[in-house]
């Protein structure tokens, strides 16, 4: 994953293990971080205490914590965060990772790689709203395409082929006699 390379800061291995033990609740093997330990739970929390524990796990306050619907398109108990693109975040605030406009321990949105500084800025207030843009686009492209496709079958100024100049209409077009010069 390229993101860890972006935020590569070098710390001692002992500090790494101690920090992991302090923050995480599951047993962490200092030899590596396994997906099975860090993946979200299979289902969103049902009881209030489970919700509070899940919020604490993800580093959020319980009032901010909500999950996606558990209808097969969800992500377990991973939080549903408001969509704020990196470009739209406060440019004058001080961040722990200024290139990402992100702070240490802040939970990432599910589609965070889509809302980075080099990608889509979804939370921008556009001068022209999307539905107006779409209407204009479909109108121009639609009319152009319609005219193009109709012109296969209908000619507005049809050009006809000229007849071949075979000069067999009986008229005399050329003569080899010289003009009489008086």
């Amino acid at each position: 994953m390229p993101l860890p390379m972006l935020i590569a800061r070098r710390v001692g291995p002992r500090a790494l293990v101690q920090h992991a033990r302090a923050i995480s609740s599951s047993a962490v093997n200092s030899a590596g971080y396994w997906n099975k330990d860090w993946r979200p739970a299979d289902d969103p929390p049902a009881t209030e205490e489970a919700k509070r524990a899940a919020a604490k796990k993800y580093g959020m306050i319980p009032e901010d914590y909500e999950t996606y619907k558990n209808d097969g398109t969800g992500y377990g108990d991973y939080p549903k965060l408001p969509i704020v693109s990196a470009e739209s975040r406060d440019p004058h605030a001080l961040y722990d990772f200024p290139e990402l406009k992100r702070n240490f321990g802040e939970p990432l949105h599910v589609d965070a790689d889509m809302y980075g500084e080099d990608r889509w800025d979804r939370s921008k207030r556009l001068r022209i709203p999307y539905h107006v843009m779409l209407t204009w686009f479909l109108g121009v492209i639609g009319i152009t395409a319609t005219l193009f496709m109709l012109s296969e079958y209908v000619r507005v100024n049809p050009t006809r082929r000229m007849p071949k100049p075979l000069y067999n209409d009986g008229k005399k077009h050329y003569t080899f006699e010289l003009e009489d010069v008086e």
Binding site: M1, L3, P4, I7, A8, R9, R10, V11, G12, P13, R14, A15, L16, H19, A20, A22, I23, S24, Y33, N35, D37, W38, R39, P40, D42, Y58, G59, M60, I61, E63, D64, N70, D71, G72, T73, G74, Y75, G76, Y78, L94, D96, N103, F104, G105, E106, P107, L108, V110, A112
Partner: protein
């Protein structure tokens, strides 16, 4: 910037309800905790260990979630219909394309299109 404790005394907010102020304070408290941990890691003078990078648990959780996204998919009516719709659209478009192409090919092969009416005459 590398203060040990980040101040969480926020300016008084006269337009926010007490509940909202409490929420803001809670968030700031959490943020201060994480900030303290971050500063401790960054200013660690023994940090030139091998393979060491600042481990961010939030980032790790996000990465694990993305790596295991397949296991959170549950087949039911809604997802089944959605998947069927996508697959059906792909096959339907391909079939339609094939039918139109076959009709045109038949026309060409049986000599129904004259040389003067050939496609891409002006290419």
């Amino acid at each position: 910037m590398f203060d040990a404790e980040m101040p969480i005394n926020l300016p008084a907010q006269y337009d926010a309800s007490p509940k909202e102020q409490r929420l803001v304070e809670d968030r700031a408290r959490l943020r201060a905790e994480f900030r303290k941990e971050y500063v401790k890691q960054i200013t660690n003078p023994h940090r030139h260990g091998h393979g060491g990078y600042l481990f961010d648990p939030a980032l790790q959780r996000w990465q694990s979630m993305r790596a295991q996204q397949y296991y959170y998919f549950k087949p039911n009516v809604k997802t089944g219909l959605w998947s069927a719709f996508i697959v059906f659209t792909c096959f339907a478009y391909g079939k339609l394309f094939g039918i139109t192409r076959a009709a045109k090919e038949k026309e060409f092969r049986t000599g129904m299109v004259s040389y003067a009416d050939r496609e891409f005459k002006f290419a």
